[in-house]
């Protein structure tokens, strides 16, 4: 019957097309990573990591950018974690679904959708100019904190959600106050989830560029305080590539960046899997 054969051919055609689409997508993605790693890995000698950039990055290594990346990430995590965990605790333990909680969630969801260039504009006009912090680790770190806040809130909430109600009931029934229950019965169990959220945020911070150029500057000089301007690895990579300063160095920085991000995300995933398996 012709219609049956047509259906069969459509089915086969669709299946083939989808297989091609899926496999080629995966192939292209892997290709992108391989290309950069292939050209860049040879450059990753120990000296690359331990020397500062010389002559605008044409020679030397990426030491100051590594320090810049670490400094910015640390500031962001230190600021965002208490705010994020506190918000999640409030939403889960101190309030029920109400106008207040809906407003807070709306704010968090919106914040999560703001593109990084807007954060960059904001950080520039607020931290660099209005608060007079200048292009600095502090300006960049605080801007970054605002960017990772929604992630920390979300993952902490998810972690708290998985904690059985009985822990709370037991703690209250033994004469615990709300805060005692939160700090002794809930948070300790939620820590792995919170930690995973932090690691994911670190991964994101490392790749962030647009917001950081506008707030932390792009200085290659070794920083000596929180108010020093600094260049991160991602920014360095961008500048090397766009200004055409040194393709070789660019490949090297890019490879280092990819490896770092892959490493961090793999750890986060591994932690998350262990955590989920531990719970069930």
């Amino acid at each position: 019957m012709r219609s049956n054969r047509l259906r069969f051919y459509t089915q086969s055609l669709a299946k083939i097309l989808i297989w091609i689409a899926a496999l080629s997508t995966i192939a292209v993605m892997i290709l992108i990573l391989f290309q950069i790693l292939a050209e860049g890995l040879p450059i990753l000698r120990l000296s690359f990591f331990l020397e500062s950039p010389k002559s605008m990055g044409r020679e030397g290594g990426i030491l100051t950018t590594i320090i810049g990346t670490i400094a910015l990430t640390v500031v962001a995590i230190i600021v965002a974690t208490p705010l994020g965990v506190g918000t999640a605790i409030f939403l889960r333990e101190y309030t029920r679904e109400s106008q207040v909680s809906r407003i807070i969630r709306f704010g968090t969801d919106c914040l999560a959708g703001v593109p990084s260039i807007i954060f960059g504009l904001f950080g520039f006009v607020f931290f660099v100019i209005f608060l007079n912090m200048g292009w600095s680790i502090l300006s960049g770190g605080l801007t970054l904190a605002a960017m990772i806040l929604p992630t920390i809130i979300c993952t902490t909430e998810e972690a708290i959600k998985t904690i059985p109600y009985s822990y709370r009931e037991v703690s209250y029934s033994l004469g615990g106050t709300k805060w005692q229950t939160v700090t002794r019965a809930i948070l300790p169990s939620a820590l792995p989830g919170i930690f995973t959220g932090i690691i994911l945020s670190v991964g994101r911070s490392i790749g962030e560029t647009a917001a950081i150029i506008l707030t932390a500057g792009s200085s290659l000089v070794m920083p000596n305080s929180l108010f020093s301007p600094i260049r991160t690895m991602a920014v360095h990579f961008y500048i090397l590539a766009r200004e055409g300063i040194s393709m070789e160095m660019a490949y090297g920085t890019g490879a280092a960046l990819i490896l770092l991000v892959l490493f961090i995300n793999t750890i986060a995933n591994w932690l998350l899997n262990r955590y989920i398996r531990h719970r069930s």
């Binding site: 029920r96 009985s166 822990y167 709370r168 009931e169 037991v170 703690s171 209250y172 029934s173 033994l174 004469g175 615990g176 106050t177 005692q180 002794r184 019965a185 300790p188 169990s189």
Partner: protein, 252 residues
């Protein structure tokens, strides 16, 4: 000389939003007795139990009218405070609920919350575990996780946890449900021992348990206290027909 009642429940009504769970409960619990609250499911037994230490405060939409007195004082008096109350009236739930910590930390949890000095903790934990008849089995592994204990041991751990606070009243909601007969017997024996120091309100797993362990009992049906009295009387010669029907198994 008639002793003062430990707990007095007076004209107590309880509502979950608009549903009434307890109707006009009048009940006295005497000191150092085991009082069993029995009846079919959904009669309000757990609700009454949890009202006695204000655990019902945690439930959104819970309201009550009437009063509950502990040693003559209204437990809902703001000056008393629910944290204080819960240290005097402890509860053990129907499922073992060990916290994800070591055995020692579980038992020490309550005393630590109330600010007990660290140096007393060892003594407190040992005494509580002995009261719960668990000390001999775990004394060598106090730092291991409580989650590794068997169901019966975990439940005895929960009893120890509560007893560590040295409360005055113990509330037990079907403490032996899901446990094997040996653990059940051991817990029932523990309860009889504990009676010497505490007043116990128990929701028994079945009538047989109530008659084994309790001194007096109250039959609850659909949120009302139908009748109460000494165990030998209420199970042998109940005054109300509903009680008799339930005891003889005409409905469950």
């Amino acid at each position: 000389m008639y002793q003062e009642n430990k707990v007095v429940i007076h004209e107590f009504n309880f509502y979950y939003d608009s549903v009434q769970a307890l109707k006009d409960i009048e009940l006295n619990i005497r000191p150092n007795e085991i009082f069993a609250i029995f009846g079919p499911a959904r009669s309000g037994k757990t609700t009454l139990l949890k009202s006695l230490n204000r655990l019902t405060d945690l439930i959104f939409g819970a309201r009550h009218t009437g009063t509950i007195f502990l040693d003559g004082k209204d437990i809902y008096d703001p000056k008393l405070g629910h944290t204080q109350l819960r240290r005097r009236v402890g509860i053990v739930f129907d499922l073992p609920t060990p916290l994800p910590m070591s055995i020692f930390e579980n038992v020490a949890y309550g005393p630590k919350l109330s600010g007990k000095n660290r140096k007393y903790l060892n003594g407190i934990v040992e005494k509580a575990l002995r009261s719960a008849a668990l000390w001999e089995e775990v004394k060598d592994r106090l730092q291991t996780s409580a989650l590794r204990l068997s169901g019966g041991q975990q439940q005895r751990l929960c009893i120890a946890r509560v007893v560590a606070l040295e409360p005055e009243v113990l509330l037990l909601d079907e403490p032996c449900s899901g446990l094997d007969p040996i653990s059940t017997t051991s817990i029932e024996e523990t309860l009889v021992q504990l009676k010497k120091e505490y007043t116990i309100v128990l929701v028994p797993h079945n009538i047989q348990q109530a008659s084994r362990v309790a001194d007096r009992a109250g039959f609850f049906l659909n949120g009302e206290l139908i009748e109460e009295g000494p165990v030998y009387q209420i199970f042998a010669k109940p005054r109300k027909k509903q009680t008799e029907d339930y005891i003889t198994g005409r409905f469950g």
